[in-house]
Amino acid sequence: MSDNRFSASLIVAVLLVLLFAIVPLILGWLGRSYLYQVANIAMIFALLAASLHLVTGVAGLLHLGHAAFYGIGAYTAALLATEAGWPFLATLPTAGIAAAFFAVLVALPTMRLVSIYFAVATLAIGQMIYLVLLNWVEVTKGPNGILLFGGLEIFGYDLSAPHLAYFVVAMVTAVSIWIIHRLSHSYYGNALRSLREDDQCADALGIDTVRLKIEAFTLSAFFAGIAGGLWAHTTGYISPPDFNFATSILILAMVVVGGLGSLPGALVGALLLILLPEALRVIGDIRNITVGIVMFLAILLLPKGIIGEVSALDLVRRQLAGAWKRVDGQGIGWR
């Protein structure tokens, strides 16, 4: 048992060292702020993919408007920072809360829908929010976008230098993904999985499916909002096209390619779909077509994704066999 615990914490430790020491060292050695920017984008999209994983992967609801909530977060953070002069530490959680608030608002009437109807409703909601961002010029500045100066400042320390911003993004991303991991690998996550497998059956078992859907949708929007806040503060410029349907599809493709229902899969998918087009940049701007081709091949050849739910669950179960095992009188569960 202690062996398994040990190796699980070993994996986490290796990942953390990679995230907080090795990657920054390599980036520092290469010394190009452009690469820091790519790393930040990769981490932000990893967070977005992880948040969509909660809805599409775990709860099995096809969500085609995720970028809109990311956009709400970004615009909230940017507007609060530029118009009201709020500090980063205040805008970031507010961005998440604003996105979650709008998510509850749109979720209340639409979350009774299932499968394709749900997908289309989220598509329409995403497009409506996008239209508002684009055309409500008095507030959102419309197509001109918003410029942020002095993006990252915590307790008076200016952290907007590329290598410092990297650590801020890495910190927020790591904590958020940890929370999403705990959520999706718990009884709560299992309840969400029951929605994916058969929501009528889950309903019959006494699970409040509508409420669970609203909660999952809201949580995912919260983390998308956080990602939006990070994006606004690290890039310093946001405009509506960053949050259009293509972005929603990009995030969805990450989750699908990585493996629906698997958090490591979503992260791998995000890294793949951000870093692959960057690596292929020498050939030309082919990001979107790469996304399409990779997504198509993944659905055709790897229907379970790179790291599918089943294999990932097996991995987790093997690694954490001690925690998973039956505790006397308490049934099967985590600790």
Partner: protein, 302 residues
């Protein structure tokens, strides 16, 4: 008064365009029970093929329409082979109705649409293509004292011809009979000896034919042909289909016309950039209040 009549004709031709696209959606949803997300790209490809034909040969308009429809049928065939056929390996009833199967074709058609759109964008750039002036169908004509555009008449006439043709095909021919049989019950159709595979391909060809024609007509009407032109009409046609009750062709046509009319009338009250809101609003309202559609026959859980 003139202004309203003009808006009305514009709305009517817009609605006819949505109707042509919505029929493609409805037919395909009927036979396969899946949504074809690449339908908007068929529309775009139709417009681009028309442009190619016009710049290369400059034939009369009716020949362009026929050629574009042929190209649309071919695209529909290719689309079915690439994005839908590989996911029909399992033909038992359980997997025909399974959600996972539906969602995988949803995403494969989405992927197909991304590749098609981005391919066009790489080949032609994302800006508007120039359409030869002779082919633009926006000359004003005076009809009973109301000034409308000749394109309105052409679109209306062609759409009516196609709708009547489709009705004839579906109700009076063997092909139509097999399409109706497959959409009624795929397994049963198979048992009575209908070649379901061929029927599905035919359906895709017919639906894409109409979608491609719609794309061409809109391209010539507005003089705006660009790679992402199919996205918004695709969504609106989808809205019309959902409002019409998913499997009802007359319902989809009526709702498409309602949608076109309300959109063009809405521009009288709000800036035209907000007109798209109407369609999305209609969709949400329909899904929430009439989940079976306005003309649907309650047949499954929404």
């Amino acid at each position: 008064m003139d202004y309203w009549l003009q808006q009305l004709t514009i709305g009517l031709s817009l609605g006819m365009i949505y109707a042509l696209m919505a029929i493609g959606f409805t037919l395909i949803f009927g036979v396969l029970n899946v949504v074809n997300f690449a339908h908007g790209e068929v529309y775009t490809i139709g417009a681009f093929v028309g442009l190619l034909v016009i710049t290369a040969f400059a034939p009369p308009l009716i020949a362009v329409v026929v050629l574009v429809m042929a190209a649309g049928a071919f695209v529909g065939f290719g689309l079915e082979r690439i994005a839908f056929k590989p996911f029909r390996r399992f033909t038992d009833e359980a997997s025909l109705k399974s959600r996972a199967m539906r969602e995988s074709t949803l995403m494969s058609s989405l992927a197909f649409s991304i590749v098609a759109r981005e391919g066009l964008e790489i080949a032609y750039g994302s800006q508007y293509q120039t359409v030869p002036l002779d082919y633009l169908i926006n000359q004003p004509v005076d009809l009973f004292g109301v000034t409308i555009v000749v394109g309105d008449i052409i679109i209306f006439a062609l759409a009516v011809v196609m709708l009547v043709g489709l009705q004839f095909l579906l109700t009076r021919t063997r092909v139509g009979l097999s399409i109706r049989a497959v959409s009624n019950n795929p397994l049963g159709a198979k048992y009575v000896g209908i070649n379901t595979d061929r029927t599905i391909i035919t359906t895709f060809a017919i639906g894409s034919m109409m979608g491609a024609a719609a794309g061409l007509l809109v391209g010539l009407y507005y003089g705006a042909i660009f790679p992402s032109m199919g996205f918004i009409p695709g969504i609106k046609a989808f809205v019309a289909m959902v409002m019409g009750g998913l499997s009802s062709i007359p319902g989809a046509v009526i709702c498409a016309i309602i949608l076109g009319l309300s959109e063009s009338l809405a521009t009288a009250f709000v800036p035209s950039v907000w007109a798209d809101m109407v369609a999305y609003g209609f969709l949400i309202l329909t899904l929430v209040f009439f989940p079976q559609g306005l003309f649907g026959t309650g047949r499954e859980r929404v």
